[in-house]
Each structure stands twice: as C-alpha cells, then as structure tokens.
Symmetry: C2
Subunit: 421 residues, 2 copies
Amino acid sequence: MSVAAVTPEKTLTFEQKLDRLADVAVRVGLGLKEGQELVLTASVDTLPLVRRITAHAYEAGASLVTTLLSDEASTLLRYRHGKDASFDKAAGWLYEGMAAAYASGAARMAVAGANPALLSKEDPEKVGRANRSNSIAYRPALELITKHAINWTIVPAATPDWAKLVFPDLPADQALARLWDAIFAATRVDREDPVAAWKEHDAKLHQRADYLNKKRYHALHFRGPGTDLTVGLADDHLWLGGGTQAHNGQYCIPNLPTEEVFTTPHKDRVNGTVTSTKPLSHQGTLIEKISVRFENGRIVEAHAAAGEAVLQRMIETDAGARMLGEVALVPHSSPISASGVLFWNTLFDENAACHIALGQAYSTCVKNGENMKPEELAAKGANESLIHVDWMIGSGEVSVDGVNADGSHEPLMVKGEFVTA
Amino acid sequence: MSVAAVTPEKTLTFEQKLDRLADVAVRVGLGLKEGQELVLTASVDTLPLVRRITAHAYEAGASLVTTLLSDEASTLLRYRHGKDASFDKAAGWLYEGMAAAYASGAARMAVAGANPALLSKEDPEKVGRANRSNSIAYRPALELITKHAINWTIVPAATPDWAKLVFPDLPADQALARLWDAIFAATRVDREDPVAAWKEHDAKLHQRADYLNKKRYHALHFRGPGTDLTVGLADDHLWLGGGTQAHNGQYCIPNLPTEEVFTTPHKDRVNGTVTSTKPLSHQGTLIEKISVRFENGRIVEAHAAAGEAVLQRMIETDAGARMLGEVALVPHSSPISASGVLFWNTLFDENAACHIALGQAYSTCVKNGENMKPEELAAKGANESLIHVDWMIGSGEVSVDGVNADGSHEPLMVKGEFVTA
Ligand SMILES: [Zn+2]
Ligand SMILES: [Zn+2]
Ligand SMILES: [Zn+2]
Ligand SMILES: [Zn+2]
C-alpha cells in the first residue's frame, strides 16, 4: 500500500492558480517586454483573471494596459432590437486603432472565455453579415498578428455559460470549478514549475516540427470513419509549433494551451471526403458532424447535422472560404484529448485532435512567406480569405500517411499517434 | 383634509425607472439619428444601465453600439504595480479611433458613475502625469465634441463606491438606492411625462440664455463669504443653456441633468478672490475649500484645505490652466441644490451652484467661434488649455451683479436667486 503524497500544486488555492495563470500568460505566453504597451481583450465575465493579468503586466514593466471589455448581453441586444440594415456595420475605427497600437509596438493578449453558443438561436443570415463585416474591418490588425509583427497570445478563462455547455449535468458552481480545473491543467499552471514545464513542452513541439520540415512531404493522407482525404502541402511549406520569435524580438507562445504542429496546405491539391470528429463552435453558433467533399482544393459538397446553414454561409464568405488554409497534427494522447472533455472552444478542441482550417493561410508557414506579395504566396499554394475556421478531423480512429512526391506513402500517425516524432 | 393621490410615477419599479432613464438618455439627451453609430463609454459597474441604453439605441435605429467599458480596479492596479516610467503613456490609438468614429458620423454617450475618490490615496505626481498624457491624447476627439460637430450626452448611473461617498452613514444597499432616487429625480424620469418635462425645462434654460445675451454685460461681479470676484466676459460672448443643434443636424442635450446657463469669460479680465462652495472631485481625487486670487486673469495664489498638491499640479498643466474658460449661473433653488445632497460629481454639483471652470473655453460660447482660428478666439478673450475643470462658487449666500461697459452694476442674482430671468 502507499500513502498519497500531498504535492505542492494540490495545496494551491483557486486564487493562487488564477494568479499563476496570469503570470504564465504574461511571461511565457506573451513574453512582454519592459516598457511595452499591452492591448488586452476580454469579456466582463473574466474580470478576475483580467485584473491579475493587468497586475502581472505592470510588474513586468508594461507602460500601459488597455483592456477592451466585451459584454455578451450587449452583443445579444443587437439581434433582439437592431434594425435589419444595421448588421453590415463594424467598428472599423476601433480595429484601425488596434492596428495602430500594434504598429507602434503594443503587444496583444486575448482572454478567451466566450459562450460558444451565444448566437445559436439568432438568425444565421444576420450572424453571417455581422461576422463578415467584422472580418473585413479586423483584417489589417489581424495581419500584423498572424505575420508575428508583434508578440501575442490567447489564454482561456472559465465563464458560467461556457462551463454550463461543457458540463451540462453539473450544478453551475461545480461546472465552473471543473472548467477552471481543466484550464489550469491544460495551461500547466497546476505543475510544480509551470515555466519549466512550458519550456520542455515547447522544445518538444519544435522538435516535431523540425522532423516534419526535414521530411518535406508532398501531401498528407487522412483515413478514418467517414474520412479519406488527401491534403497537398504548399511548395516550400514550413511546419511550425510552440513558440515563435516575433519580428519585434520578443519570444511568445501564441496559444495557451497549444499541442499542435501546423503548416500551409496547397490550396488546389486537396481531394476526397472528410468528416469532423468534434463539434465546432463558430462565433457563437454550433456546427456538428460536418461532412464535406473536396475536388482540386474546393469544397464541392458540404453538410452538417446541426448548423448547416451557418456552415454554408461561412464557405460562401469569399472565394477562399471553401479552400484550406491550415493543416495541423495533434496526437490523440494529448493531455486535452485525454481529459475526454469536449470544450466547444477551438483553443482547446483544436489542441485535442488533428484539424484543418478553411480560409486564410499563415504566411509564416511558407519559407520567406512574410516577405512575399499575395500573388507569390498564391503561387506557392497558400490560400487567401477573410475567414480562418479550424475544425477537428482527428481521433483515435484516424491514421495519417506522409505522401512523397513520387506517390509513395509512409505511416506518420497510426490510430491518432505519431509513429516517430 | 386631503387624501394623497397615488401618482403613476410612485408605482414605477426600479427596473422601469432605469429603462426610462435609458430612453430619455437616447431620445432626449443624445437625439440619436436612425442609422447612426453610437460610441458609449461606461464603467463595468454601470452595466445594467448600459444594456438598457444599448437596447433603446438599437430600437431607435442605431447601426452599431460600441461600448468601451472601464474597470476601476484595473485603473488602480497601474498605481500599485506600474513602473514609474509608465505614467506618461496614454492610449492615443484608442482616442484617435474615437475621433475617427465621430468624424465619420458616430454619436457619443458617456455614462458617468465613477468613484469620485478612486485615486485619492495615489501619488498626486503620478496622477497628474497620467491625466496630462490622457488630456493630450484625448484632445482631437474632445474638440469634435465641444464644437458640437456631433450629438453627444452624459448621463449618470449610481455605483456602490460613489453612493458610499455621498451617503457615508447609510448601509451600502440603502446608499445605492438613495443615489439612484436622486439620479431619477434630477434626470426627471420620475415625472409623469419625462420627455415633456425636459421640453419645458429646456425652453426655460434657452429663455434665460436669451435674456443674458440681450443684456451683453461687460463683466459679472460675484460677492459672498470669501468671494469678491469680477469675471470679465469675452468680446462677442454667447450664453448657452439646455439643448443644442449639433452640426450633424441632431438636437441633443449634452448633460443630463443640466440646470446651468454658461458663457466664455475674458481670460485677461478676471480679478479678485474666490472661495469654492462645494468640494471638487477631480479625476479621482478630492479637492476641498479652494481659495484663489486672480490678477488680470491669472491665478497668482491658490490654496485648498484638502488636495492642495493636486490643485497646484492642475494649474501648472499649461499656461491656460490658471485662467478661466467658463462661467456659469445656476439658481440656488435648482432641484439638485434643493436636494441638499453633495454628489462629489461635477455633473450634479455644477448644476447645483454657480461655477467657474479653469482651462479651455467653449468656442461655441463666442459668436461664430467655431469658425475662428485659435488666435482669433484668443483675441476675443477665449482661453486655451488642455484642462477644463469646473468648480462651484455659488450658494444661497452669494450674489451676482451684471457689470455694464460703463462700470454701472445691476443686480442679476441676489442670495443665489435670479432677480428676473
Ligand atoms: Zn491549428
Ligand atoms: Zn487555425
Ligand atoms: Zn458649466
Ligand atoms: Zn464646464
């Protein structure tokens, strides 16, 4: 028999874990520089974490922390009371302001805790128009982020509505506590030394990306229930994973948690059928059991058991919205996947399974891509779109082959696990 | 004998009064135009009113309501954890964004409910630097507002910290309820027909301004305990009061409540001593029993029983900070004054007593002033500064004479009440 040892992390109070999450977010996720300005976005439901992050950012030498707080109840009021003509308007002045802040050196942190089902009952046509207007207005700011001009990160915070969706059978307070525990585990702040744990994990993701970059596969072949999909990889594609050195010199880990390695597919060389393995929460609406067929890169048929109208609108956003901009590999044994919890939140669910994204490709996933013009990137196979929507196609039943230029296959993942790397 | 009639307004629930306040704010205060964008600022403590305003704005046809929510706890964290070098930074990108929104047609509403004593215990030197940086960054946006390029308004909301300061002897919930009642009374939403009540009140303020505009006094002479002050009026000064037609065509009442008529003093023709009759809350700090002496327009001596350091820093902001930019007349019998409550909030206290403001003059209070260059305005006597700080000099013991160009005096207010008008 054995007596259970009380490990230090078990004795941490909720407040201490919250404070550790803020510390990890600022130091490990964001890599805030002394004297740097910080632009933080968060919902009012996440204020306790926002305040901890603010304190840690100022301690790390932030010159100013500006938090743009959103209120989901106010968001809903637009759908309840807004005139039909209003749904094509976006706060361009605010997004341009954010872009100006980044251009002048500010860092960017987002606290993610939205209710994944906020807009599920609203008119998909209005939701689609509002999303499209926002995407267009947000584009200049987003480009500075995706090109890693600045250091940025996204960290999760549990909120009551999100917790209720994840743990529908638990009382509200228990659901919230369970979701916080899952967040503390996924962000490694319940480890004895979270910073050291992140260092080790980050090294492992880089090692995996390096392996794939040496392999230089021409395509990946996904096989599983409802899935037989070949995803060509862009010419000069680069696999990335873990942290990145931003162009302002700061090292950041853009997503907390992160378990993926990812690259840019070739937009014209995607063929076959694929079925989603987890439901997708897309800007407040839920899309379940997606099943699509690709021909020469384009979706030619798309279905979903729930939210099909939202899916259809999404892929009609623009020409690139029905083509792939990302493919990512995540072992089925990843800690988030092993938790068995469905988070209805891309930050978690995309780090629990292999996934693909419709829409915009990351120029950083093409060699020297950040310095290329749109035409040059397109020539390499990188897709362009207003949207970038990740959805999950991996599971313990899905295997992946690496396909060489000569057509030969080699097993890369078998039943959800990497064969080597 | 008589039986007290139950008037309809007595039967209104708190929720109904809150909803009426939002309705009055949008329709009477702001005069929102169908299809117009709205930029709203508020503290997170005022979310219940913010949501009502949002609903009423969308019902009135707002194309988009964007609320910039502030969190006072986060503001304090800067003073607790920020490095010394950080206090000269302002979110210029955000203020520029707001200016861009106004320039492109957005309306502006501020919900005022700040804790008047938030920064009272912080280092006045840091508070002063932070305020100065903000004033500089905010200037372009503020100019569009003060010139009435757009329709705008400020409405109050009770918050726990503010209520505690106003009613220190009451339990927290009673203090909050009392402050809400005072707000509902001052904003006339407890009347049977608030919109009609505002129409009548607005007409009265315009009538009073018209009377003074016909009089064309050369100066005003204030006399009372600790006060013997002559305030020269600017050449071609204009008295304003109540609502204004903004240049975008919308009629708005910029302050709810408002009881004042006000104009531009001549910056070089202010002489004598003046003592404040109510304490002043200035950006989170409290200044009490101000006593200053003017010579040829400039403060040459300044004291305060509390907050003197903040006062000194304030008047050292720039050359115009020790000169007057506004003089305003309010009868002592005004409903806010009659309530006997000290609000520690300029929106209320300046509407309970005659007041003067140090700093920037309103170009709208000079004939054709909005079309004049800074030099032309200065030649008329209009002051220029980064600050505009109102403080109260009127009471039931203060009388005001109108002084004609020939030096003759005529009584305008006696013991706080208008003789005619
Ligand atoms: Zn991904
Ligand atoms: Zn993605
Ligand atoms: Zn005034
Ligand atoms: Zn004023």
